[in-house]
Symmetry: C2
């Protein structure tokens, strides 16, 4: 006990946390040098009038943080951490040659209205309930050390139950969880043993670039949401191009907002049979149906051979990154192997949190409340469009999902319109990446879900004014 | 208030949680049918002797869980959820054609000792401190709605600071977070605009399969950990094959446990310069250095053009799935674009939890304690090998990392040895996927980190006995 100790300025510290913060401040500022001994527990006990256990708890925490070292029978010391100076490189090797980045849209800057966003207003999302669920899984069962390669089993079970309730014959062994539906598409695209695929044009550009990055040759199936699918045209294209797979966004198609009719779904299944292509259904939108409306899906009508992709991303909280795919048992080993090669497995904490959220039954209640608000915003958006848009502008009426498509006369220069609107802090997303060859449309996505109705109205007003003055 | 209500069996419920559980049980068992009214709040208040607010809190939670509906001026009712019967498929389309799964090893079954595991005993990992950090970020700042595409900025900053302390010139803008280092490799492999790559043989098989899946042609650089790198042989191979990139695991190489010497690192940098290939360094092991030992890396000696990959996966908790890559600014747009196409972004909660863990300074303290235990296990493993292994068996002495390589005489049939050991509940991982063409070795990985020393000793004893009796 003969080692001298330094005085530290921790006046007013009442609990262990105060004491930890005070010592950390002193050490990091350099006012107490490495190797110095801290006051003995008893000294602080008297000085601050707090209990011995509180002081000890604070010192233990500081040891865990690496700021102090405990030496037997000597006390607590400021630890000496070696800092290695930065070294100049010895010999620079050549830089790696990478492919250029895909032309993906950036995030909007603060103060700008991202009028084309497919995301839902974060104020409508259940952040507190999700945090509750996370706290609950941290207590019970506590952090699991390993992730299941295929996905956390209770989550896969909860997903299967939800799909069963929609009439699909699905069990947990057919479900693979993914980092949002984007990774579901990635895992499928990288596993495919086919060279050609078809998809709607316009289509979700991230899917298009993804399939292209994996070396597939793509052909578009023109989708005019104002007139429905031209099945004869699609059949001619599919019978000529002979894709190995067709990717279809069947509900609230991104970016048009179009939903396939039952007879279009059936016709696509018949063509799949006739021309021997597999089907990949992206069902991102069907949880955003208004009220109790019921809509079939390719997976429902076509059974287990249809690969099905969906996600909780938009509806729960994008940062949770929980999506999934469903495929027949035969395909699961290849898909899980592809998932393992791409990332081994996912954040257990995210998956367990979403599983808890589903298990408590929060999801349907949340969707119900969310949809009520989205319906009101949708009606307000339609009213604003009717009132403000000039002649010749038309828009889709999806009746669900977060966005609709606004189509403008071909004489409008979309690039200039975007620039003029951006100057007025309204960001219209460039949709040109969504089109494969054919361009049945000339316009952009408008969201009614990302911002309150009055903000969306103001955005529409800006666009309308810039359209008038072109 | 005239609607009749059902009696429910909630005897003994003292708090809101009890009441929620009791009503949930009654509803899910079907004992209370949809549409039934629950007892009025006042009735339960009197029946159970708990406060009105407690009953209301329980009813509100049950509404959030979708089990009850609240009807104004009428009370709480069991909600009627429509269950759609499962539908038989209308028309089955063809199944998708997928590539066969890569021959990845499975997970060991309970009761089996995974003697080749590269993972660290979960009992040595800071599960409680990580849970603390997760709870802390759930409170403050609370769940963020969106993930940063490049990775949570405070985490990227903490990573950059750690690398700076090791002498590397790195800033947060050069860091991209990933789902473990596996996804870092995936993002790099899918971005590469080169056709050929070289890597050590044997090598981490997941990396080999990954590069192959992305269409790269690979050539091996034979690595004999007992004799070091044959630089003349490597130079001949590299000057002939002319890869666009060389992938190197420079510390505690997986699976051999070999660490490059400084002169080998320098020689590789010189060859990169001479033959124009880029370098990808997988530094998974250097956080598992014993004591205060210091070891340079390719990134340190070669500067920013060396792409660098590392992870917290093994050292913190595999299920957190937090890894990262570091590359020069020029390459970041392509790499972030590839990350967005593969998964958009990561679980914010996992990233923020690890950032908090680093920020509190827990990581170095944890590594210090971990390494002390691993050193003891390593010594015990070496002692067991010396004592038990028959003549002609040799092993590497990595001095760090979780595993070493045991090499047996060529006359040993490794497949049969694996089978005989598995019958005795010792799982030796098949290393054949680790070799590209050349096979400088004949053996398998032995872990001293995955299980306590006495278990590892028993596993070694089983292997030794099966080797004796061949």
């Amino acid at each position: 006990m003969s080692v001298p100790y330094v005085g530290i300025s921790v006046r007013g510290a009442r609990g262990a946390a105060d004491l930890v913060a005070a010592v950390e401040r002193e050490v990091k500022s350099g006012r107490i040098a490495a190797g110095c001994r801290l006051p003995p527990v008893r000294a602080l006990e008297q000085q601050l009038g707090i209990s011995k256990n509180t002081v000890l708890a604070a010192y233990d925490e500081l040891v865990a943080r690496g700021l102090l070292e405990s030496r037997e029978r000597e006390g607590f010391f400021v630890s000496a951490r070696e800092i290695i100076p930065r070294v100049a490189p010895w010999k620079e090797p050549p830089a790696a040659r990478l492919k250029p980045p895909a032309p993906l849209p950036g995030r909007s800057t603060p103060g700008t209205l991202a009028i084309s966003s497919v995301f839902i207003d974060a104020d409508l999302l259940p952040r507190e309930r999700l945090a509750d669920c996370a706290r609950s899984v941290l207590r019970n069962p506590g952090l699991e050390p390993f992730s299941d390669f295929q996905g956390y089993r209770p989550l896969r079970e909860a997903i299967a139950r939800r799909l069963q309730a929609r009439g699909m014959d699905v069990h947990e062994g057919q479900v693979v969880t993914t980092t949002g539906s984007q990774q579901a598409l990635d895992i499928i695209a990288r596993s495919l043993d086919v060279r050609r695929a078809s998809m709607e044009s316009p289509v979700y550009p991230h899917a298009r670039y993804l399939f292209e990055q994996h070396g597939l040759t793509l052909a578009g199936l023109p989708l005019d949401p104002f007139n429905g699918i031209d099945l004869a045209d699609w059949e001619e294209r599919l019978s000529t191009f002979r894709p190995g797979m067709v990717y279809a966004i069947t509900s609230f198609q991104n970016p048009t907002g179009y939903s396939y009719t039952t007879s279009e779904l059936v016709a696509l299944l018949e063509m799949a049979d006739r021309y021997g292509f597999a089907l990949l259904e992206d069902d991102w939108g069907s949880d955003m149906l208004s009220g109790s409306e019921y809509r079939p899906s390719l997976r429902l009508l076509g059974g287990k051979n249809v690969i099905y992709v969906n996600s909780f991303t938009k509806k729960l909280l994008p940062s949770m990154r929980v999506g999934f795919l469903v495929a027949s048992e035969d395909l699961i080993p290849s898909l899980v192997s592809a998932k393992r090669l791409s990332c081994l497995g996912h954040s257990w904490l995210s998956e367990a949190t979403v599983a808890e959220f589903l298990d408590r039954g929060y999801y349907d209640s949340h969707l119900g409340a969310l949809q009520k608000e989205l319906d009101a915003r949708y009606q307000a958006c339609l009213a604003a469009l009717s009132e403000l848009m000039p002649e010749g502008v038309r828009w889709t009426t999806p009746g669900g999902g977060p966005t609709l498509w606004v189509d403008v006369p071909r004489s409008v220069d979309l690039g200039k319109l975007r620039q003029r609107c951006l100057k007025r802090n309204v960001l219209i997303e460039d949709a040109s990446g969504a089109f494969l060859a054919d361009r049945p449309l000339h316009g952009f996505r408008v969201s009614y879900a990302f911002a309150p109705a009055e903000k969306v109205r103001k955005g529409i007003q800006v666009i309308a004014e810039e359209l008038w003055t072109r």
